[in-house]
Symmetry: C4
Subunit: 244 residues, 4 copies
Amino acid sequence: MDQFSNGDIFIGEIIGTAVLILFGAGVCAAVTLTRSKAKAAGWVVIAFGWGFGVLAGAYTAGPLSGGHLNPAVTLGIAVDTGHWDKVPVYVAGQLVGAVLGAVLCWLAYYAQFAANAEAENAQPTLGIFSTVPEVRSPVANLLTEVIATMGLVLPVLAFGLTKGLGQSGTQTLMVSFVVVGIGLSLGGPTGYAINPARDLGPRIAHAVLPIPNKGTSDWGYSWIPVAGPLIGAALSGLIFNAAY
Amino acid sequence: MDQFSNGDIFIGEIIGTAVLILFGAGVCAAVTLTRSKAKAAGWVVIAFGWGFGVLAGAYTAGPLSGGHLNPAVTLGIAVDTGHWDKVPVYVAGQLVGAVLGAVLCWLAYYAQFAANAEAENAQPTLGIFSTVPEVRSPVANLLTEVIATMGLVLPVLAFGLTKGLGQSGTQTLMVSFVVVGIGLSLGGPTGYAINPARDLGPRIAHAVLPIPNKGTSDWGYSWIPVAGPLIGAALSGLIFNAAY
Amino acid sequence: MDQFSNGDIFIGEIIGTAVLILFGAGVCAAVTLTRSKAKAAGWVVIAFGWGFGVLAGAYTAGPLSGGHLNPAVTLGIAVDTGHWDKVPVYVAGQLVGAVLGAVLCWLAYYAQFAANAEAENAQPTLGIFSTVPEVRSPVANLLTEVIATMGLVLPVLAFGLTKGLGQSGTQTLMVSFVVVGIGLSLGGPTGYAINPARDLGPRIAHAVLPIPNKGTSDWGYSWIPVAGPLIGAALSGLIFNAAY
Amino acid sequence: MDQFSNGDIFIGEIIGTAVLILFGAGVCAAVTLTRSKAKAAGWVVIAFGWGFGVLAGAYTAGPLSGGHLNPAVTLGIAVDTGHWDKVPVYVAGQLVGAVLGAVLCWLAYYAQFAANAEAENAQPTLGIFSTVPEVRSPVANLLTEVIATMGLVLPVLAFGLTKGLGQSGTQTLMVSFVVVGIGLSLGGPTGYAINPARDLGPRIAHAVLPIPNKGTSDWGYSWIPVAGPLIGAALSGLIFNAAY
């Protein structure tokens, strides 16, 4: 991470994570909200939407910060490389970018949020911004997030992507498809945060944005999609250092 | 853009944009018209159809013009590089190609257009050619197109694709998947023009082609899918020049 | 084409085309036949199944013949390069391979063909092997096949794939996604043969295999998916030679 | 295979196969179990989930073992290269990894397995772990597995992937899409084991894990998804040695 300046890292992670969340929250809005053309388009749409959000975001952040977009990726790389100096700048940029991306999603779907609020069967809107478990069970939910995050961070470390996800075309593409796979395969129980910024940033946005009839921001659950991915990333770094 | 001759640019953009619109309008015909095997095949089909249209079109135009296929891409590259000479040739080729592609789609689905016109629940056909918003709201629709276009042009500029989308295999593939992602994630409100030629060219074709029972060409909306993408592209160019 | 020996070409095209048809007819069996896990899985499954059949087949044939797998690709390359010597060997291998692939598909789905024959709503089986138009109209059907084939052969020629589809990893992948796109976008009217061997070989297999309750082999339609792709390929070669 | 140490091979195949089965069994859990967000999401989800599991697993195992993840791949490579020394280490790692991956899937979906056991229409759980044929017919089922495995091993050998699936980015991606294609096209009859470890390891896990209301482990069928892929791999190696 040391080849990027602090300023470039901060700006790059803001832009890249904003793009990621714009796509990711966007696809959840697309399939959830009334009067969206993709209403109820199914799980395959969600998984590919998030995966290609990683592609677009990592691609965009690449020249400035390498494109981590995710504190779990940053932590895994730090455990692997032993370089911790830039971690706070990465994480700060990721959180700011995640809030910004959620705001952009809300603006892009402004008319749909309004239509949803007025619909008879108005959907709660938190699931567009942050993850909501299907069965509420802290231990099981945490475990799911730990395991799903290892499915992301282990491959990233195994191929030596210690700069980030957005510096080699083919590998950026591969990481994006791995993220699609995690969504398809491991998203069922908790909606796969696998990224603390991806969950916390949009939850902050959800809490403060003037969305009509928006429902709860569910802060009681919010620690799990932060703690689970960080534990999974740390475990991945330790396994990687031991085995490779 | 300067390494291509005006003649090659014009021909290349005509052929490439025609292929893009043939695939893109084609997939909308495939899921809309009666007696099509892909009738009602869902949003995932539309998003991948358009994305692989970008792949095929950029791939085809690559050797002649680099493959812009989109005045918003051309504008973003011009703002970035400061080279404006060839912009009119690119845009002229893109518009001619978009009309041509729409005509080819109509020919490929000739029997389906006829069957649709005679069906009891005949669908309006404009949505096959041009975008139609789900909620009609000029400000919200414009904002959606601005944001969605930034999701295309920022990644394109960030990786230095200043020649076009069709000159490096891996990057052409990545841009195509980004376009799939934009469709999945940001297509819900307006049907994602993100390309003035993609909307205006087929709208002209829709207005003049002898399609039976075709319904309105909705010229009142037509300025939004032109203005929105151009604003989004200009903003992307300015952000890119400031941040990178 | 001249760097491959006649023997290698013949064997390579047999193996590669057999793999293509095994996947392609296989996916049609998968979504059509009763007691298949993918029964009624939708158009997106068909389009990706055929596209990845091109990937697997071209990949397999690559070292021996370059991987054409399609008389329309062979014709387009011959018109482009002016080398016609090997055309008969390519086409012979493609036809033999297409028959062989259809037989392998029948063996892989043996129990499902039997279950289908005994089902109350037994499906006609020709659509698993060969294309069947939704609206029977020789002129419109031919036009659809001409246009759809140009969507394949023009990109192939534009990137100089004059050896075949299976010699560069990234380009093989791109061609496969272009084929997925053709299926999604242009498959609605006729089921997109875009390959004379892909239609004629399996039709021969359908006519001779002892499939119970198999229905007609519809020889009256069989000239269209042969003539249409050949016309489209020849036009693509002429356009390419004029414009590039 | 000779460039990797026995220790690295064993560890690499354990990690990589565990990732493969975590994704693969995971996607089957995702679409099968009650209270999963991807419940009933369809065949396309299953095929892409398994394919991207190959991508993630091969990618992760690559630096340690090349990434075979499958005794059929190991056998095909051994028949091709004539190097048999490391085969037992590869296969041992694959089996251990497959059991481990199934346990991780069970942990990730712990709350869903519990909810399924209590549901009125509780689904049998074996199909999450191992393959179950739609029509029970040893000869037909074996033939399907032989043919489907040849669709994997022939392309792998044809491109000289004699180290494994995880050493070249583009080729790892291509093999993953070939596996998606096999699922879409040839998974209908038996659920496509095409990998003895993928079926046997999770079946062992299913037999011993304390899953409530889990149903039979169906050992009577278990030899077919072992024998079929091995026969298919041996045939592929022989064809390859004869034809290439």
